[in-house]
């Protein structure tokens, strides 16, 4: 039997253990298998943290794509905080096109698109989330560019139910003449809980990931923002419906499969009576 790749085992383990504590499990796995650190940090989505931009006073979201060491780039000011020793002036150097997380800032053209994307998704955030924080980060690729659209919303604390929603949409845009090939991988991390009263404690937490690929026409750089916008909007609508189905439909059904609210023998008798009735109607 071929040995199992420890990286696959790590992902399998994270898919099984309580998703509410993914970050802690991730740290434990990294302590067991330090070789996997980089690959795991790049592929495991964790709840987003919020930081305030020193220049603009606006909040932005942190992830691996705007990180350099312990510093994070604000999408509003384009500056790293704490400042880097050698700011990524000059954009992306050759051979380091996937420089996100390495102190690189996007090239001038891609940064212009990043600014517009941040404005567009700020509007999107207000319309769909009516609050929360959004951040978009772009970086250059050899044959196009890539980016991540982040959205976070927490419910107002103090109610009998609480929740946090994190959206992480990573995309690649491969430019091929008048068309661009987009590949989008989206993860939503959703934590819900209710405490107190006759319900006791309830925690309903998790994450789901979906992918989509599509070729779309591009007239100019604004088309990219609109295309990514539509892809993300459609994906979030799909995922919101899916989350609703799994969190409130599937979970409830499984509980109903474990314990039947009604009596099992009465249910069996009713089904038997129904069969007899149908049988007698056929005769």
């Amino acid at each position: 039997m071929a040995a199992v790749d420890p990286f696959d085992s790590a992902l399998d383990l994270l898919r099984r253990l309580n998703p509410k504590h993914t970050s802690e499990h991730l740290n434990s796995i990294i302590s067991l298998a330090p070789d996997l650190t980089e690959d795991l940090l790049a592929s495991v989505d964790q709840p987003l943290t919020v930081k305030r931009c020193k220049d603009t006073g606006r909040e932005f979201l942190l992830c691996d794509y705007n990180r350099d060491g312990d510093s994070y780039r604000s999408p509003w000011s384009n500056k790293f905080d704490p400042p880097l020793d050698e700011a990524g002036a000059g954009g992306v150097s050759a051979g380091e096109s996937e420089g996100a997380g390495e102190g690189a800032v996007p090239s001038e053209r891609v940064r212009k698109m990043e600014i517009k994307a941040n404005e567009a998704f700020d509007i999107y955030r207000e319309l769909y989330y009516e609050g929360g924080v959004s951040s978009v980060y772009f970086w250059n690729l050899d044959d196009g560019f890539a980016g991540v659209v982040l959205l976070k919303k927490s419910s107002t604390p103090g109610g009998s139910t609480e929740g946090v929603w994190d959206s992480i949409h990573v995309f690649e845009a491969i430019e091929r003449g008048r068309n661009t090939h987009y590949k989008l991988t989206s993860t939503v991390i959703l934590s819900l809980s209710a405490t107190g009263g006759s319900l006791g404690e309830l925690d309903l937490s998790g994450n789901m990931t979906r992918q989509v690929e599509q070729d779309l026409p591009v007239d100019n750089d604004d088309s990219h923002i609109a295309n990514v916008g539509r892809l993300v909007e459609d994906m979030e609508l799909k995922m919101r419906n899916l989350l609703q189905e799994v969190y409130f439909g599937k979970a409830k059904d499984v509980v109903g499969d474990l314990r039947s609210v009604g009596s099992l023998s009465e249910g069996a008798r009713d089904r038997e009576a129904q069969r007899e009735l149908i049988g007698s109607m056929k005769r």
Binding site: A3, V4, D5, P6, S9, A10, D12, L13, L14, R15, R16, L17, N18, P19, H21, S28, I29, E119, D122, I123, Y129, K153, S154, S155, T156, G159, S160, T161, G163, W165, L190, L192, A194, S198, L199, G200, E201, L202, L204, S205, G206, N207, I225, A226, G229, R230, E233, V246, Y247, F248, K250, A251, K252, V254, V255, R259, V261, S263, L264, S265
Partner: protein
């Protein structure tokens, strides 16, 4: 956290029916430290006793429960219904060395009558459950344990319902908890974990009174839980992200880049 503590926590956090998958992952991640898995015995024991692991005794089709309430020490447990005790291997979850074991003492009659009536209740509401009633705390109280499992790994979900009640004949109080654990993991990882403390009184102090109280309590809890799903869906979930903007139309992205917040870019201008 030591490596042993880390992997022990993984074992204790294994979802219903997925312990062997979690152990396989641990083995793959600790190839350079094979001694770690050998040291997991206490974690397996804790998992099995807390999760009310079930096992079929050799030659029997009936599942019996593993818990701290029917432990005899030294890895042996007993079952009242079959009047037997057995050795349990916590790593392989198998039973062996079955011997006769008869419950005697002050609570023996109450244990037997409660077992019979709780059994009738369990059969009416759980398609796949094991249950047990045991004298505990130096034969001064009676513990009732119910566990129901449903595993559907082909459809990427598994679930467990656990209830534990301790009846104190001296005060007629029935205290315990109901815990539900559901795992759904198709292209994701979603977990429902609940814990409902229960405090009730059974003035009759009889097995029938205890079974009736448990039946009422569990029905009420399941109703509350179903209401809880609705209130989370209508409350916290809705408040996090709308299904569509207030205008009930998707965003017109071609216009967005030129617009600023507060202007109508959701739903076409002039359409309404």
């Amino acid at each position: 956290m030591s490596h042993l503590e880390a992997v022990s926590a993984f074992v204790e956090g294994a979802p219903p029916g997925e312990l062997s998958d979690v152990v396989a992952d641990i083995k793959s991640l600790t190839l350079s430290e094979p001694q770690l898995v050998a040291q997991l015995a206490p974690a397996f024991e804790k998992y099995n006793e807390e999760q009310f692991a079930t096992v079929k005794l050799p030659g029997s089709s009936q599942s019996v429960i593993i818990s701290s309430h029917n432990s005899l020490g030294d890895g042996r447990y007993y079952d009242v219904e079959s009047s037997s005790s057995f050795a349990f291997n916590h790593e392989t979850q198998t039973a062996s060395a079955v011997q006769s074991y008869v419950v005697e003492g002050a609570q023996a009659d109450l244990v037997k009558s409660t077992l019979k009536l709780v059994g009738s209740y369990v059969k009416e509401h759980f398609a796949n459950a094991a249950y047990g009633v045991y004298p505990v705390e130096s034969d001064s109280k009676v513990a009732v344990v119910i566990v129901a499992n449903k595993y559907s790994p082909n459809n990427f979900w598994n679930g467990r319902w656990r209830s534990l009640y301790i009846f104190d004949p001296a005060s007629s109080s029935l205290e315990g908890s109901i815990k539900v654990d559901v795992h759904y993991y198709e292209d994701g990882n979603v977990r429902l974990l609940t814990d409902k403390p229960v405090t009730a009184s059974v003035s009759s102090g009889t097995g029938s009174g205890i079974a009736k109280e448990i039946s009422t309590t569990e029905k009420k809890y399941q109703d509350e839980l179903n209401k809880g799903f609705v209130s989370l869906s209508e409350g916290a979930f809705k408040g996090l992200r709308r299904q569509l903007p207030v205008t009930r139309q998707k965003i017109e992205w071609d216009k967005v880049t030129g617009y600023r917040l507060g202007q109508d870019i959701s739903g076409g201008n002039g359409k309404r």
